[in-house]
């Protein structure tokens, strides 16, 4: 007879079909989405009071325009973080792909316009860099943090070499260089592209073996191996996917600017990575959603946009953004504290 044998209370057993539990259950399942949405509303209200210009259509479109690029990046980052890894190479990979894209399109330096192939080569280059990160991380077992930190500079280096010592190349095709900020459905194109990438990401996560194995690997890699899942292949695929998405982001960044230089992507990761975490994706892996990521990006973009409009001195803005970011992460991660979990 065990000393705890008389504890007949079932442990958190699911009781279905009780109507008063339905609403509570819905809230409990979607607590992250609900709380981020609420935070966005609260922030928006505060900023509208501080500066009435915040709530104008013009500014909201501007806000979405700012959110487009981080959103694309955040989708790739969500996959990487879901297996408990991190990809710091994003900005370097973006530079490399952006540079390759401009130099192969009609640009101020002349050269041949490869048209469609410019996209293929730029994204392919980015995916290749992601592939190397993935293989080094999986096969050589270097932590993803270190591998991608190195790959960041490799990408930056490629961009610098391609840039050379000539003048800054800009896109000469006007249709292309104004595409990003043009509106469709009342929203800027780059944000719509971001949404499309996020929706594809969500479908990938929910309806493909790749997506489900990603969640399994993130939950417990050892168990995944023991179940005969192809863990290594999954991890490399994720880094290739994240690389390709960074490549798309690099192209969008150059189109937005209409030109390119090696530091074109600076500052994007600062929004994208925290947005993923604030969106409820656990840094330990195995838990997260694309919807959360989208909301996380909107939340942080609202913050940056609002602080600018609220006339916070640019000198302070950087530090304030950082401090608010730490606060947001602390609040999000609070519920995940565990005596037995050690963070390093």
């Amino acid at each position: 007879m065990s000393s705890t044998a008389t504890n007949d209370k079932p442990r958190n057993r699911v009781t279905a079909g009780q109507p008063n539990n339905v609403i509570a259950g819905f809230i409990k399942r979607n607590v992250e989405v609900i709380s981020i949405s609420a935070s966005i509303l609260v922030l928006a209200t505060i900023f509208s009071i501080l500066n009435p210009r915040f709530a104008t259509i013009e500014n909201l479109q501007n806000l979405l325009n700012q959110a487009g690029l981080p959103l694309i990046i955040a989708v790739g980052a969500t996959f990487v973080i879901l297996i408990g890894s991190i990809d710091l190479s994003v900005e370097g990979v973006m530079s490399a792909s952006g540079m390759a894209f401009v130099l192969m399109s009609a640009n101020s330096r002349g050269g041949t316009d490869f048209g469609f192939w410019a996209y293929v080569v730029a994204i392919g280059l980015a995916a290749t860099l992601g592939f190397f990160s993935g293989v080094l991380f999986t096969k050589v077992k270097v932590p993803s943090f270190i591998v991608t930190l190195g790959m960041w500079y490799v990408g930056l280096g490629i961009a610098t070499v391609l840039f050379g010592t000539d003048t800054m190349p800009f896109l000469t095709n006007d249709d292309l260089s104004t595409w990003a900020s043009q509106q469709n459905l009342g929203m800027p194109n780059n944000f719509l592209l971001g949404l499309l990438v996020a929706i594809l990401g969500a479908l990938l996560l929910r309806f493909t073996s790749f997506g489900r194995v990603t969640l399994a690997v993130g939950n417990n890699e050892e168990i995944a191996r023991g179940n005969g899942l192809k863990v290594n292949r999954n991890k490399v695929t994720i880094f290739v996917l994240a690389g390709a998405i960074s490549g798309i982001a690099g192209i969008v960044a150059t189109i937005q600017l209409g030109a390119v230089n090696p530091t074109i992507a600076a500052g994007n990761l600062f929004i994208a990575l925290p947005a993923v975490v604030i969106g409820g994706t656990s840094l330990a892996g195995g838990k997260g959603s694309m919807l959360g990521t989208v909301l996380g990006v909107i939340l942080l973009t609202t913050l940056t946009n609002g602080l600018t409009l609220a006339d916070v001195s640019p000198n302070f803005k950087t530090a304030v953004s950082g401090a608010i970011l730490i606060l947001a992460i602390v609040i999000t991660a609070w519920s995940q504290r565990d005596r037995l979990r050690i963070s390093k």
Binding site: M1, S3, A5, T6, K9, R212, A224
Partner: protein
């Protein structure tokens, strides 16, 4: 997922002269046996006897150095778990191996790579099919679980049922009968939960053969027709259950008779100050107003159901959990701002139930772990003396019969029972151990290791330590304790001095609920 009935007379699995070594340590030495369809066979052996290694060979985690494996008459080579699953071998692991973030149905489908053929098309998930398949499998083993439930919502027994469903689902890919391996499926279960599970185990033989690994000999006797006994990497016996009794099995496993001694309960000398006295200790929401004292050389066992607060109390006494009010007195002296470093310095030892996470540093060698807290002669100030450390560790290894007897191996690689011996030694190495707090010290241990650990607990008592024990079972509490405290909902409901009183397990139970 219909039970396989294709009995072609061939053994489901046959091992011939399987060998496996790690460095110089021969973990499995020439093991041969075969299982026929419909057989439920028990596999027993002490921690470190080679059972786990053998199972890992069967599941494709390890590759044998020599010998051959036949499944349904065909020679097979398992390069990885995938191969083993494809051959129809399913495992219910000792430590649960479900993806807690996924649904029941997905967990069942994720085995076997079946997920990539039957339930998916070009890698696209067909959720309805996955739910349907899971339902069929669950029904086949008699479970009514909803396949859409996420696993982290389930209790332990239900999780174990999912593991079993996953294990039997492996047979879908196999040609003939399949093999289900149950690796200590009951080691962390409560008694009534075990009964539910045992009923299911009996059904499993419809699917093929079953290997049932357990430390509880009574369970083995009840559920198995045949018993394989391993000792020191060898298969020392292959017997019909009707031909043996528990005592003989024990002897076969350990190599000698049980050394159980008649237990005596020490009484208190009223003039003596208690080694540790707790007054009105409260931690909001966990336990409240707890008072008791333990004298040097006495053992107080605390019993209670889940949620009784005894685990939190034990942790609080070690300074690992905050105390809201009340006081702790050590040898009559009140302790202020109670934190782990102060507790350790004051001569308190704590053996946690979460051994792997809180008890050991897996990447450190056994000798480093052993001398980590109380280095004794192996440190002078901040300077460590490796030679002295090795001597101390070697002495403990010999005294506690730790296997393998290699102090420089990483502790994470030892089996659970042997890790626990080292955790005990870590505290016993202090000459000034006053209070030893033990949180489920025997959890998951085989009878041999449990005996050694119990002997050490008794020795610590004899040497003057006051021991506080959170026992796994009421019998353990009554046998080991000089005093038994019963807790319910954070409060002490009664206290028995076993030198004077003789409560039954039923008496304790009544006060627990």
């Amino acid at each position: 997922m219909t039970p396989a009935k294709k009995s072609n007379g061939l053994p489901v699995i046959a091992l011939t002269n399987i060998e496996k070594s790690f460095g110089t340590n021969k973990a499995v030495k020439g093991v041969s046996f075969s299982l026929n369809p419909g057989e439920v066979v028990g596999l027993i052996g002490e921690n470190g006897a080679g059972k786990s290694t053998l199972l890992k060979i069967l599941t494709g985690m390890y590759q044998p150095d020599a010998g051959s494996i036949e499944v349904n008459g065909k020679t097979v080579k398992f390069r990885n778990p995938r191969d083993s699953i494809a051959a129809g071998i399913g495992v219910v692991h000792q430590e649960q191996s479900l993806f807690t973030n996924l649904t029941v149905a997905e967990n069942i489908a994720m085995n076997s790579g079946k997920g990539s053929s039957a339930s998916t098309k070009f890698g696209i998930y067909r959720w309805n099919k996955i739910y349907q398949d899971a339902k069929t499998t669950l029904e086949a083993i008699g479970s009514k679980l909803d396949p859409k439930t996420v696993v982290n919502q389930l209790g332990f027994v239900d999780r174990q049922m999912v593991e079993i469903a996953r294990a039997v689902s492996a047979d879908a890919g196999a040609d003939g009968s399949s093999l289900v391996i149950l690796d200590e499926p009951t080691s962390v279960l409560e008694k009534h939960e075990t009964e539910v599970l045992e009923k299911e185990i009996r059904k499993l033989k419809n699917f093929g053969a079953v290997i049932f690994v357990s430390h509880r000999l009574d369970e083995i006797m009840r559920n198995c027709e045949r018993i394989l006994v391993m000792r020191d990497g060898e298969l020392v016996a292959d017997l019909k259950t009707t031909e043996v009794n528990e005592k003989q099995l024990f002897k076969l496993m350990i190599g000698h008779d049980s050394r159980a001694e008649a237990s005596t309960h020490k009484s208190i000398d009223p003039k003596e100050t208690a080694a540790i006295e707790v007054k009105a200790l409260t931690r909001k929401g966990k336990f409240s107003n707890v008072s008791f004292s333990v004298h040097s050389g006495r053992l107080t066992a605390i019993v209670g159901a889940t949620g009784s607060g005894r685990e939190e109390l034990a942790r609080a006494l070690f300074g690992a959990e905050k105390i809201d009010s009340g006081s702790v007195l050590l040898a009559g002296k009140q302790i202020k701002s109670w934190r782990i470093p102060r507790a350790v310095k004051s001569g308190i030892g704590y053996v946690p139930s979460e051994r792997k996470v809180e008890g050991i540093i897996g990447g450190f060698t056994a000798s480093e772990n052993l001398t980590l807290t109380h280095p004794g002669k192996s440190a002078i100030g901040p300077f460590l003396i490796p030679r002295a450390r090795k001597k101390i560790a070697q002495d403990w290894f010999n005294a506690l019969d730790v296997r393998p007897n290699d102090i420089s191996q990483e502790l994470g690689r030892f089996s659970g029972g042997n890790q626990q011996k080292v955790v005990m030694a870590k505290w016993l190495n202090s000459p000034e151990l006053r209070v030893l707090i033990l949180d489920h010290p025997l959890r998951g241990l085989d009878p041999g290791a449990a005996e050694t650990v119990n002997a050490q607990i008794k020795r610590a008592c004899k040497d003057g330590a006051a021991v506080i024990l959170l026992a796994d079972t009421l019998e353990e509490a009554l046998e080991m304790g000089d005093q038994v405290l019963v807790m319910r909902d954070g409060e002490v409901t009664s206290s028995y001095d076993l030198a004077k009183q003789n409560p039954s397990t039923l008496d304790l139970l009544e006060r627990m609920v």
